[in-house]
Point group: C2
Chain length 192, copies 2
């Protein structure tokens, strides 16, 4: 086994630095030089590992994607009933947006900075489809009359919470979104 050469590979250090800087300051604003300096790595290592800045951005976004997915899936184990799980997504959102490092949705931010057809929009479409499916499944389990329709509404609330927390510099939008989700779930499960 080769375990502890430079303690952690240049690739991983680059990814960690990119994650921190890209998220905090934007994928366009942060240059290659800032990243390799922050990672303590040579420029050639970056191009050996990723090939281009664009591919580093893709790796950064895919890492964010995997972590959000994982955070939600494991976080939801806290709750047992379908209704609590559904609202739990918004509790987890509130936890995220309350972090002092929170700067909005990494995928939307990167999309706003990039041209149409960029890797940012590509990865964004993936995570949005996953989130939509998650909400649809939770809505169905919670007994919604029209799960797809409720999922679409929850998607709006989730996006609104993500964005509002960034723009207002405050995590309360996530809790407002939770209260709205509770009201909509109530309306979608009682008799019309």
């Amino acid at each position: 086994m080769s375990a502890a050469s430079p303690r952690v590979s240049a690739r991983d250090r680059l990814l960690a630095a990119a994650d921190e800087l890209f998220y905090a300051e934007g994928v366009h604003t942060v240059g290659i030089d800032r990243i390799i300096e922050h990672a303590g790595v040579a420029k050639a290592s970056l191009y050996n590992s990723f090939g281009s800045k664009d591919e580093l951005i893709r790796a950064y976004l895919e890492g964010r994607h995997a972590r959000r997915r994982n955070r939600i899936l494991t976080g939801l184990e806290r709750w047992s009933t379908p209704k609590d799980k559904l609202l739990g997504v918004f509790d987890l959102l509130a936890e995220q947006t309350a972090l002092p490092t929170y700067r909005g949705c990494a995928f939307y931010n990167a999309s706003a900075e990039s041209e149409p057809g960029s890797v940012a929009e590509e990865v964004s479409a993936t995570i949005r489809a996953w989130t939509r499916d998650l909400f649809a499944r939770l809505a169905r389990d919670a007994g919604a009359r029209d799960p797809e329709s409720l999922a679409a509404q929850l998607m709006i609330l989730y996006d609104g919470g993500l964005v509002g927390a960034r723009m207002d510099g405050d995590s309360s939008p996530a809790l407002v979104a939770r209260s709205a989700a509770a009201a909509l779930l109530q309306a979608a499960t009682t008799a019309p």
Copy 2:
């Protein structure tokens, strides 16, 4: 009267070009040269009129702010009852997001591209405060039990509609937001 010299002033042509290019491609991505070329104007005219790119960005965002405000205020005259006016905001949102040129919220996009404390965040805070007040007023007129609380929820829906339409490349999120707003309004006006 001085009416038709170069038909329209260099300043106005610059503003029109900036509005189009900044919105379509981002304030950071689009350079000065692109703008003056698109406006058919000399570089010196830009710096005479605005002083810096940052001030041009401010003028661009303030123009967007004024137009959105105006579009909503005049658009709401279409409806007469408070409830219809409140939901009308989302109808107008659906009209906007259905435009082929729609590329998301100009203020959020510009904020995502800029550093903290930039003019983008400054102007964004202004329009968000105005929107929140608008919703609070409409919620009060519509007889909501707690207008401020409903306004906060509507704000989430509005943000979610703006963002969702951009990310999905489709205007249906605005209509979903409208349906959610109707449900929340219903819940906020009937007896608890």
